[in-house]
Structure formats: structure tokens, C-alpha cells
């Protein structure tokens, strides 16, 4: 039997970026909040210290900071008739665990979605006609418009000290920034990162082709920065160890560097680590989650923590698992289109890239920050005319590198053997002379891509694993092929010594090579309980005291990395909770 604990005002499931933001906002409003984190505590001082924080094998290859698949993983099948099998070793995506979550070991690319990404279905239907969007493409508008979220994007950028350059300041377009972005009220809080050789090559190529180059918005500090919480982040050393690593200099925005030192001092907050939430205790009649049950993984002992408010800030898969097993909302069924839990699972269309080699240029790829890149958005979202193209969506295209760590990053020209004398020669010759141009493509929802529970495989707590039914679809492949053409043009314009051919997205989804940790959907936000799991304030339709955080809210995935939007939605929901819900607990939107 679980030991019953004393009720608290709010319990936070997961202490990553969203849990930290919610806990901070709620404790400031006077609420007592308990944060339940399944993993250990991690601090910059003890866990991200030099010299061992630069251990490529430990962190990048042996996956020190990520979720342990021995405890929990997901299963995959490409289509419903197949039997799903577990992803036994992480590869394609790398969910975090421990305090800070994936926010401790991300690269730091921090976007706002395009205005047309926010109202995607309405936008496409009004531009291309009511019947233009195929029936199997189950895309939807976010209930929050770009304008609704602008102030909250701004708050998250200020929390993180994002380095970048505005391209649209209150409607005025600014060359050198992203002229396709929605209007911003404020410039980025930090100037852009240092210009690299790759960046300068991209600027020139883009100019020659009539595209609009701009520095990628980065949670890597171009200069020391003090955020509104009063915490100072150090200047980035361009060490090339962001993604998969913690930052010894607090120069990358993370829960550790931007919020936790303040939150952990607050008497209204209590952090419980090794607290692995097993289930939500749901009262269907009352439409409330009364408590959460968790296991102390140090002892195996179970606890039941009652709370007035439950904030679900686990990763996408756990958000789905916990709601699904509690019976909050109906499981999505692709055959009927009914049900909402697990619906519109999306990912990212990556693997679109070309490497160019310059005999006479020294690239120094190891001098880099995680989000370092010179980008173009000319072929992103609906920034270009899709009439007659046979697909919707696009990609952000970036030139540069996040690292030159040689276990995983050793580009050689196409046709080079993978080992032996010729491999050695080519690796030694080209390591410092290679420039990568890559694309990150949107992934629009498809009727047959979804999440549910696996009938066979279990996690360490005995719960079913989340089952992913997922593959890349025609829209993704056509879009990627088109983007590959753009990459080839950019590569040619750079006049390299050796130019490969841009790769595209072909074949079935493969879980082995890393692609991105941008899993989205499954508890989507929307305007009614028939088609979504939570309302515009991220409040569950089926339980008014349950607020859901993270990319599981997305109806589909734009090309952009999700963290900027995840942060904005967290602040948006926090404000609704503290200004509306606490005063008058109940549904914030009538069902």
C-alpha cells in the first residue's frame, strides 16, 4: 500500500524546463509546490565540471544523462498491421531524466513558430482552398495565435538570454534578422553568436541566390547575461560540447542556470528526487486528479501525494502514458478517427543535408556553440508558394556546426571507404575543411501516426510501454526532396573544392541514427474535447485541476525546435493558473 502524504497546493511531475517554470510562477503566487523528479539531482558544480564534462565517450556516446531504456522506453511499428518492438537502445531521440531534464543537455536552438504555423489549417485552407489539405493530413490550428503567445515567447527568451537578431520588430522588417518571423515587441536579449567561417560562406551564398540569411536564435550566451530571475549566465566559450552535455560555465540556458538556484531557495518549493511517478489518481465523476502515486526508486516504497493542482511536465511519452493509464480522455483510434489521447504524434523530418569541402579553408569545427548556425527561412513553413508542389510545409536551413567531436563527427567526401588506409587519409585531410548545410523539416500530422499502449512490453514499474505507430509519409518525402534541391543550390553557390549531393528523406523511419529529440503530440491542445486533450490554457478537458506541459501539446510539429514554444506555453498556462484558476477553480474554457 502506498503511504498517504499530506495534501499540497500543487504537485509538479518532472522538474525540467516546464516543471521549473510552473513551480517558479506558482510559488511566487504563494502556492506550496512539490516537484517530483524521477532521476537524481544534477548541479553545474558537481555534475558539469571541467575537465570530465568534456568526456565525449561518457556523455555523447554512452548517454550518461539520458533516460535509461532499462527502466523505460517506447515500442515502434511503422504501420498498424505490424508488431511493435521496443527501442532497446536510444538513438533517433534522447529524452532526458534527472533535475533539469533534457533542458540540461540540449543544444539550445530556440525558435518562435511562424504566424502561419500557429493557425496552420486555417492558413492553408484560405490560401490554397478548402480541399487542398488531404484527408489523412490531420493538422489543426493551435488555439493560441502567434499574437496570443508573443509576450510569452518574449518572457522565455528573456529568461534564457537568447542570442539572436530580430528580423521583424513591431512590423518593421530588418535585414540580417529573420524577415519571415512574426512581429516581435522586443529585440533578442543577447546579440548574435560570433560569426564563423561556415556562417560567412552561408551569408554570401544566400545573398547571391536572393535568400535572407540570419543567425540562428541560440540559448548559448554570446555575452554574459543576467536574467529577470537575477541569475547571471556566463559567456559561451564555444567549446563544442552542448547537446548531450551539461555546461560548466552556465553559458547555456537550462533549468540549472536560469531558474533552479532561485526556486530551490523558495520555502514554498520542495524538490523530491528519485520520485518516479507511476500513476495519476483520477476521479472521473469530479473531473479531478486527486493525487499522484510515485515510487521512491531508492527504496521501492510507494507514496500517494494528494494535490489541489497537478502539473504534468514529464516528456511527451510519459505525459501520454500517465493520462492514458488514468483514463483521462479516450484513446485515439486511426480507423475511426475518434478519441484524442495519442493523436497527432509527430516528429521532425531531418536527414536532409549536404557537406561541402574546401581545400583552402580552415573551418575549426570544434569551435562552436550548440545552436551556432547561419540560417535561411525562405523555404520554411508557408514562406514560399506551395501551389502545384504536391506537399505542404518546409524546413529551416542552417549552415555551421554544433561541434567537431571526432567520435561522431568526421566528415569525408562521398565514396570514401569507412575504414582502412583510404579512410585514414581522407579523414586526416578533410576533418578541418568540411562545412555542413542541413535542414530541419516540419512534420505534419497523419491519420495513421499515433501513440497508444503496447500490448506486450512493460517498463520497470510494470506499466505498458508507449507504442509508437509512425512512419514518414509522402508529404514528408516530397518536402525533403524539394529542400534537398535548395541545399544543392546553396552548396554550388559556395564554390567548394568537393561538393556532395544533398541527402533526402527516403525509406522507413529508422530508430538507430540520431535525428532529433523533437517528439511532439499525443495530448494536443485545441478548442473542444472532441478533437483535443487540453484547452488553450493547457488544462485537461477531463480534469480541470490537471495542466499539461511540453511538446505533447502540439497538434503538429513545425520545422522548428520545440523548446521556444514549450517555454512560451508554460508561461501562458502559468499565468492562467495564477490569475484565473486559483481564484475560481474549474474549467477555464467551457467544454
Amino acid at each position: 500500500m502506498a503511504t498517504m502524504l499530506k495534501e499540497v497546493d500543487a504537485v509538479c511531475i518532472g522538474v525540467g524546463f516546464t516543471g521549473s517554470i510552473l513551480a517558479r510562477e506558482l510559488t511566487k503566487a504563494g502556492l506550496k509546490v512539490v516537484g517530483l523528479e524521477r532521476g537524481p539531482n544534477r548541479t553545474s558544480r558537481d555534475d558539469f565540471a571541467l575537465p570530465n564534462v568534456r568526456d565525449d565517450l561518457k556523455y555523447a556516446v554512452r548517454q550518461e544523462l539520458f533516460q535509461d531504456t532499462q527502466t523505460e522506453t517506447v515500442t515502434l511499428r511503422h504501420s498498424t498491421p505490424e508488431t511493435a518492438l521496443p527501442i532497446r537502445r536510444l538513438g533517433s531521440f534522447l529524452p532526458g531524466t534527472g533535475v533539469g531534464g533534457a533542458g540540461a543537455h540540449w543544444n539550445g536552438v530556440t525558435w518562435r513558430l511562424l504566424e502561419s504555423d500557429h493557425n496552420l489549417r486555417t492558413h492553408l485552407e484560405s490560401r490554397y482552398g478548402k480541399t487542398a489539405v488531404a484527408a489523412e493530413m490531420t493538422i489543426a490550428d493551435f488555439p493560441q495565435s502567434y499574437t496570443d503567445l508573443e509576450p510569452y515567447y518574449d518572457r522565455f527568451e528573456k529568461l534564457c538570454g537568447i542570442s539572436g537578431k530580430a528580423g521583424n520588430l513591431r512590423g518593421q522588417k530588418i535585414e540580417g534578422g529573420n524577415v519571415f518571423e512574426g512581429p516581435r515587441q522586443n529585440e533578442y536579449p543577447n546579440k548574435p553568436l560570433a560569426l564563423t567561417l561556415a556562417g560567412s560562406l552561408m551569408q554570401k551564398a544566400a545573398r547571391d541566390l536572393g535568400y535572407h540569411a540570419f543567425p540562428a536564435p541560440a540559448a548559448n550566451m554570446s555575452a554574459a547575461y543576467t536574467n529577470p530571475e537575477g541569475l547571471t549566465l556566463g559567456a559561451c566559450e564555444y567549446c563544442g560540447h552542448c547537446e548531450r552535455f551539461g555546461c560548466e560555465a552556465n553559458a547555456k540556458s537550462s533549468p540549472q542556470s536560469t531558474i533552479l538556484p532561485v526556486l530551490l531557495q523558495d520555502k514554498n518549493f520542495e524538490l523530491r528526487t528519485y520520485a518516479y511517478v507511476k500513476e495519476l489518481v483520477y476521479d472521473k465523476q469530479a473531473k479531478k486528479v486527486k493525487a499522484v502515486r510515485y515510487v521512491d526508486t531508492r527504496s521501492g516504497e510507494e507514496f500517494e501525494q494528494p494535490a489541489q493542482l497537478v502539473l504534468l511536465g514529464a516528456y511527451v511519452f510519459n505525459n501520454v502514458l500517465l493520462m492514458r493509464t488514468a483514463g483521462i480522455g479516450e484513446q485515439y483510434d486511426p480507423a475511426t478517427g475518434k478519441g484524442t489521447i495519442g493523436k497527432n504524434y509527430c516528429y521532425q523530418v531531418s536527414g536532409n543535408a549536404v557537406t561541402v569541402f574546401f581545400e583552402d579553408k580552415e573551418v575549426n569545427p570544434f569551435m562552436a556553440a550548440g545552436a551556432h548556425g547561419m540560417n535561411i527561412d525562405d523555404f520554411n513553413g508557408d514562406n514560399f508558394d506551395h501551389a502545384g508542389l504536391g506537399f505542404f510545409g518546409g524546413a529551416w536551413i542552417s549552415c555551421g556546426s554544433s561541434n567537431g567531436r571526432p567520435i561522431l563527427t568526421r566528415p569525408v567526401p562521398a565514396g570514401t571507404p569507412r575504414w582502412g588506409r583510404e579512410w585514414k587519409k581522407a579523414t586526416a585531410k578533410w576533418y578541418n575543411h568540411a562545412v555542413n548545410i542541413g535542414a530541419s523539416g516540419c512534420n505534419y500530422a497523419h491519420r495513421e501516426n499515433y501513440l497508444d499502449l503496447d500490448p506486450t512490453y512493460k517498463d520497470a514499474l510494470g506499466r505498458p510501454l508507449v507504442r509508437m505507430t509512425y512512419n514518414f509519409r509522402d508529404n514528408d518525402k516530397k518536402m525533403a526532396l524539394y529542400i534537398a534541391g535548395v541545399l544543392d543550390k546553396l552548396a554550388t553557390a559556395m564554390k567548394p573544392t568537393i561538393q556532395g549531393k544533398a541527402s533526402s528523406r527516403t525509406g522507413d523511419y529508422n530508430v538507430v541514427p540520431y535525428q532529433s529529440t523533437h517528439n511532439t503530440g499525443g495530448t494536443m491542445t485545441g478548442t473542444d474535447p472532441q478533437s483535443s486533450v487540453v484547452n488553450r490554457y493547457c488544462q485537461a478537458w477531463g480534469a480541470d485541476n490537471l495542466f499539461v506541459m511540453g511538446a505533447s501539446l502540439f497538434p503538429q510539429n513545425a520545422s522548428y525546435n520545440p523548446t521556444g514554444l514549450v517555454g512560451a506555453l508554460a508561461y501562458y498556462a502559468a499565468e492562467a493558473i495564477t490569475t484565473k484558476y486559483v481564484k475560481n477553480p474549474g474549467p477555464l474554457v467551457p467544454a
Binding site: Q70, T73, L197, C239, M367, P406, K424, D508, V512
Partner: protein, 245 residues
């Protein structure tokens, strides 16, 4: 040939062990003085002596497996003007240590069954942990070369070793249970890990791999250098975790 210049290989260890094995109960007695001699030799050497003269010891690989791994990493990373051979860089020892440790025994590997045959896109789906997988793979590789060339892999000429690995790489060597390509990919991956990882893991001795490509290692603080070395070769010698510990 690298083998001719490596003093370690002048007493073919495997042959010696095989001889000892044939003598049955004499193994333990024969082993002990060898170990003492090696320990004495080590203590007599100056501490700063070249690392490649350290005695060759194995945590988990048996002698046949060790010979296979040495020959394989030397074929994947042959000695030339760019670097010493894979085994002289410590890569075989690295692989032994990795397979003897948490990785080898299946850390971060979901190991619940069932284990049906699966398409490659679903990743690793075998019941074996990496240590067991390498054991089975090495056995299959030696069976393949014995059938094709009449000898264990490590006894082949360099050109036959290259040809044998190529056949495995292409998935064309008949392995029981799993494809030779799957084994070769795992072997290639762990070889590259050993060659390019921080030298504290036993491979990349003297930072040979980092020197080969021009990777400077630590501390990797380039706030000023990212400007001063714009389109300029970074000319500082590499340093590793040990240099800052």
C-alpha cells in the same frame, strides 16, 4: 608491416597460451612466473616510459578473441605516417575494457523479451548483451575465415584480412544468428570510439587520433580564438582530461 616492429608480438602470446593449454594442469604454474616477470619488468621501467611497453593484459577477452580484436583494429586502422596502428594506439585494450564493463554487460539496453526477428530500422533486437554479441561475432568471423582462407582471421595476410572484413562489411559472410554486416558495424563503431575517445579510456594513446585530424581536445575554451583563428589553422597541440586532472 607493423607486426614486425612491435616487440610485443615477438613472443606470439596466443601460441604460447595454446601450448600451455595443451599441457593441461601446467597452465597455472606456467602463467605465474610470466606474470611476475612482467610485473618486475614494469616496476624496473621508468614511470614515464612509452605506454606501448606496458604488459598486455585482458579483462574479458580470451586469447583467441584478443588476437582477433588486435588484428581487426589494425586492419581498420593500419599503421602509416598518420598514426600508429589501432592496437598500438590501445584500441584493442579499449574494446576489452568496454566489453568488461557496464556497456558490455548491457547498460542502457532494454532487455525484456520477446525477441522476434526484426527489420533493421528497429535497431538492435537481440537477447545478447554487447559482450555476448562480440563473443558470438568473433567466433563466427573466425569460422568464416577458416572456411574461406583456412586460418583464423588474425593469422591472415593483410590483404586477406582486408578482403575478409570487406565481405563482412557487405553482409556477405555467412554468420549464424545475425548478419556479418551487423557484427562489422558494431566492431567498426567500437573501434572508432576507442581511437577517438579521451585517452583515459585506454585507446587514442598519446592522443594519436586527435593529432591525426587536428582536434585539440581540452579545455576547449575558444571565446577569443573563435575570432583570432577565423579561417586559420588551430596550431596548439591537443590536451586531454588527464592534463587537467
Amino acid at each position: 608491416m607493423a607486426d614486425d616492429t612491435n616487440p610485443r608480438d615477438q613472443i606470439p602470446r596466443r601460441q604460447f597460451l595454446k601450448g600451455a593449454g595443451a599441457a593441461g594442469t601446467a597452465v597455472a604454474a606456467v602463467m605465474t612466473p610470466v606474470a611476475v616477470t612482467q610485473a618486475e619488468a614494469q616496476s624496473a621501467r621508468p614511470a614515464a616510459g612509452p605506454a606501448q611497453h606496458a604488459p598486455e593484459t585482458w579483462l574479458t577477452l580470451n586469447a583467441t578473441e584478443a588476437e582477433f580484436v588486435k588484428a581487426a583494429v589494425d586492419t581498420i586502422i593500419p599503421a602509416d605516417e598518420l598514426s600508429p596502428s589501432g592496437s598500438d594506439c590501445g584500441v584493442a585494450s579499449f574494446i576489452d575494457h568496454q566489453l568488461a564493463g557496464a556497456y558490455g554487460s548491457g547498460a542502457r539496453l532494454y532487455r525484456q523479451g520477446p525477441f522476434p526477428k526484426a527489420k533493421a530500422e528497429l535497431g538492435y533486437q537481440l537477447e545478447l548483451n554487447p559482450r555476448e554479441f562480440f563473443r558470438a561475432g568473433i567466433t563466427a568471423a573466425n569460422e568464416f575465415t577458416r572456411k574461406t582462407y583456412g586460418k583464423d582471421f588474425d593469422r591472415l595476410s593483410e590483404s586477406d584480412r582486408i578482403a575478409a572484413l570487406k565481405t563482412m562489411d557487405e553482409g556477405k559472410a555467412a554468420f549464424p544468428g545475425f548478419s556479418s554486416a551487423m557484427f562489422f558495424n558494431a566492431l567498426l563503431q567500437i573501434t572508432m570510439e576507442g581511437f577517438f575517445a579521451d585517452p583515459m579510456y585506454g585507446g587514442n594513446r598519446d592522443m594519436a587520433a586527435w593529432k591525426m585530424v587536428g582536434y585539440p581536445g581540452l579545455p576547449a575554451t575558444y571565446r577569443d580564438e573563435i575570432k583570432t583563428y577565423f579561417n586559420k589553422k588551430y596550431d596548439k597541440p591537443p590536451r586531454s582530461i588527464a592534463d587537467f586532472s
